[in-house]
Symmetry: C2
Subunit: 214 residues, 2 copies
DNA sequence: AGATTTAACTGAACATTGTTAACTTAATTA
DNA sequence: TAATTAAGTTAACAATGTTCAGTTAAATCT
């Protein structure tokens, strides 16, 4: 009965081919400018074939969205080697921002575009089990902040609020840049401002040396 | 020679009709789901007519984008009555977040969608004079922060970095909500978290009472 | 006032998009 | 070998933004 498995494997390979091609095109031409037909042309199949492997375009985008979260989660995990929770939190911030800056299309998919969320909501009606993969990453951040609080390294506050705030800050930085709202800064200074902004957050939030001089 | 003027007036009225209708549809159906044809149908003209008043769809969106910035700028100005620059800054934050939460489609247009930026860049090639309207609002924030710094109420840092950081933080909060990335929180708790997050920022940044207890 | 130019508007088309249904062909099973 | 299943394509659909040739209606000129 090896045939069933081979078929399954081929199916998976085709899915992967479609996904990889889609992602490559997204990187080349930008998220907005990739069509099913482009993908089909690139892999030299007819457009209709793609619909044998994915329900619709949002399904492709959603799957890439999941892959992005896998990647991000793995990156987040690399900070686990750091003992000091505050230092770990800072590293997490850096990792998050780097990921966004190096993979803006992935980031857009994951945190800005509407498509994936549509799909998630559509799915949640049927299968409640498949609870969205993003909350895992958020939980990780939340846990880290909890540790910081417990160690007295972080202002006491509602944990949800604190975690959301830190996330929002990092998201604000990268999403303003990804969606090109920083035209007031010279192109070559942007990366510097991003890094400084991260420092600024940690500085004002936790570092007494940078605190207000009275 | 009153005819030329009447014609000009009618032209402006038609533009306004199109813009208002477009905005109304955006509010009703969401930004993504409004087409030129919908707008045309609503005002009972043919689709082609719209192209007599606007170059293309991005042009409509860009014009609404400008109107949004007018509105926001006016709101910002209302904070000028506040003497204490730090308090004024806080109020500015509140105003910004309220604007976003009450006019999510406008906010999306102004700070998330790609269309308007495309238009701005396209225009900047020809006419350098029309420098983008958003920087005026940013300048306002910047100035406010500068005053805070001079009064010793704000951590000393590169002014650009500080202003960008504060903006990014507020933007992060509202854009995560507008683009529906907060599914982990119960619907009815979201507004509360938003408000708390704003407090959290100001608390950690400036308020010693909320500072780390050693 | 009548002829002519100008402005406002439309109908029909174009190319592109996502998506689907009927069909063909190749592979697997009986 | 015949029947069934899977994989893929072709051709079409409706919806989108956009354009262009034409048609009225208004304004201007003589």
């Amino acid at each position: 009965m090896g045939i069933k498995e081979r078929k399954e494997l081929e199916k998976q390979e085709m899915r992967k081919l479609i996904l990889d091609t889609a992602m490559k095109l997204f990187l080349e031409k930008g998220l907005e400018n990739v069509t099913i037909r482009h993908i089909a042309e690139k892999i030299e199949y007819s457009p209709a074939t793609i619909y044998l492997y994915f329900k619709d375009k949002d399904d492709i985008i959603y799957t890439l969205h999941r892959e992005g979260f896998e990647q991000l989660y793995k990156l987040q995990q690399t900070t686990l080697s750091i003992r000091d929770p505050l230092e770990r939190l800072r590293k997490q911030g850096e990792v998050y921002v780097s990921f966004a800056m190096e993979n803006p299309e992935y980031y857009d998919l994951m945190f800005i575009m509407r498509g994936p969320v549509r799909k998630i909501k559509e799915m949640k009606i049927k299968e409640m089990k498949e609870w969205d993969i993003g909350s895992r990453s958020f939980e990780f951040l939340r846990q880290n902040i909890k540790e910081c609080m417990e160690a007295g390294l972080f202002p006491e506050a509602d944990l949800d609020v604190a975690a959301f705030s830190v996330w929002a800050y990092a998201h604000g930085i990268v999403s303003l840049i990804i969606r090109d709202r920083c035209m007031m800064f010279p192109e070559d200074k942007i990366r510097h401002i991003v890094d400084e902004a991260l420092d600024f957050m940690f500085g004002t939030m936790f570092d007494d040396k940078v605190k207000i001089k009275l």
